[in-house]
């Protein structure tokens, strides 16, 4: 059973983490509802183990790791449901009208799984490369290389010149 203090801490923590979690899993899954579902389920797992998770160096990192694993399981079990979103001739929001930057959204969705995970943790979860490395259980150098590859692929997909900078 949770201590009263722990419960309060969890409430504060999860409400603070929610926006980043839902953004991360939405971008990782390419599906708004699924992203929300994964975020909620990952938080429920964290709540269940809050005594232990709250004492971790990074409760958030643990939760993101759980969420990515949940997403992997979901893809395994409900692939047809995901594919239904790509239906032809059926109003399933195929253009992702709720996304402003559809071109980038599609480019991220086209990244290999590992690169996509690194990108969403880096940009949507707002993690440092070291935190991404810890979450994905790989070396920091691997994350840097993976992100470089991902950026190169995204630039290629977006036809953005290498090293382009904003004025």
């Amino acid at each position: 059973m949770l201590e009263p203090g722990s419960a309060l801490a969890f409430d504060e923590w999860y409400r603070r983490e929610w926006p980043r979690l839902v953004a991360t899993f939405t971008l990782a899954s390419g599906d708004r509802e699924l992203g929300r579902e994964i975020a909620a389920e990952a938080l429920a797992r964290a709540l269940e183990r809050w005594d232990r998770v709250s004492r971790m160096a990074s409760p958030g990192g643990w939760t993101y790791r759980v969420g990515l694993n949940l997403l992997r399981r979901h893809h395994r079990r409900v692939t047809t449901e995901l594919h239904a979103l790509q239906a032809i001739g059926v109003p399933v929001d195929p253009t992702h009208a709720w996304i402003e930057d559809v071109e980038l959204w599609s480019a991220v969705a086209g990244l290999p799984a590992r690169q996509r995970a690194a990108v969403v943790l880096r940009y949507a979860a707002g993690m440092t490369e070291a935190e991404v490395a810890e979450t994905l259980d790989v070396a920091p150098g691997t994350v840097a290389a993976t992100l470089n590859h991902a950026r190169a692929q995204l630039r290629s997909a977006l036809s953005e010149p290498e090293g382009a900078r904003r004025e």
């Binding site: 999860y14 975020a39 692939t79 940009y123």
Partner: protein, 424 residues
Amino acid sequence: MSDLDDRLSLLADRLRTNDAVSRGELDRRMRKARRRRRLSVGSIVALVLVALVAGVMSLRDPGHARSVRVVGPTPPHARASQSSIALPSTPLYQQVAVVDGHVQLSGGFGNSPGCSSTVVDATTLRLGQVSRSNCNDPATQGVRVGIVNAYVPKSNTATIRVARTERRRDGFSVGPVVMTYASLSDTKPVSTTAGSWLWIYDVDTTNGPELLQVSAASGVVVNTVHMPTIYRPVMAANDDGLWLGPSVNETIPPVATVYHVSPGSAHVTVALGGHDWVCWLVANGHDLWAGTGPTCVQQTIRRFRGSDSRLVFAVADHGVEPNTVIGNETDGLWTMQWVPPPSAAGRLAVQLPQEIVGIDPDTGTEHVVAHLPKTPFTTETDESEGLVAGQAVYFHDSLYLLEPPYQPGADLGYSTLRRVALSN
């Protein structure tokens, strides 16, 4: 900062929303996860106890040891021959089925649209040419009629249409909306086909809990039945109609265990009373096999016959804890289990063996028929579910199994197709 970094950050910002789920919703999910975990832990305890008893008995009577099995006697084909092939990462395969007399794998292409399918040479396991098709085409899943989910933009509403194979046109058609439901975390429409009918159920339609009986030939709804509230149903259909009950993941206490709706009937009847959960259902012809219990560790395996749900047998499960069972009277009933069922209690990156278990359709007796190589079980968030839908199929005295569920370095798709020959 580059344009790309800016755009990524902006995209992420747009996706951040403050409409967090309620604490009550998280509490409910947590209770459900705990219930699943208790089942897993309970099954390990049960297996250990049974194994200890078996060990003690074998010490007292060495001649008895061979006859003491956790899940019943081992038939001659326990040493079933096995062969396997590695599956490619492109396309990714997520389901095996028997289609038009062939073993067929189907899946997707990862991040590009469309579904893939290929026929497997049953002798060599060699994969045939890859076909790309629309994922809504029921033929991709090896059926002639299916449902198409569509989410209404900027809402929690979703719709279901019926897709039918149009053999004359060598394609398929999608009909009008037949069901509108609230797409929430607690709702998930389920469907199944048998004979001339497609059955569709959801708990939160615009008309409340509702079952549709749809003609597989025309796609027309021929019957609508108001149903009991079941958030997480297990469903199966045969010539006598539709059978469903609350799964172990159900969120409200069950009022009855298995319900039945006959084709054309406007009413639902109770086929099996009590307040148990349904662990699995297999329906075929005029038979229904069901694993039910207060938990799936304490299952009772039953066979019913006919539309009046006449009980043929009821026997206790002996530690197999089936999650999904495939088969029928002719082919036998089959499931797969982890050994032991992995609990979430700190099992990280372990590899565990699996067993193929046969369930005698005439008696409910369980027996191990094959042992499979160890398979990675990646994290503590994976649950001991054993066989899942679409993972295995029985064909010509062999089981064709997909495992493990991940490609090296990737997320989706099985990486091995294994054939377990069950005849000597």
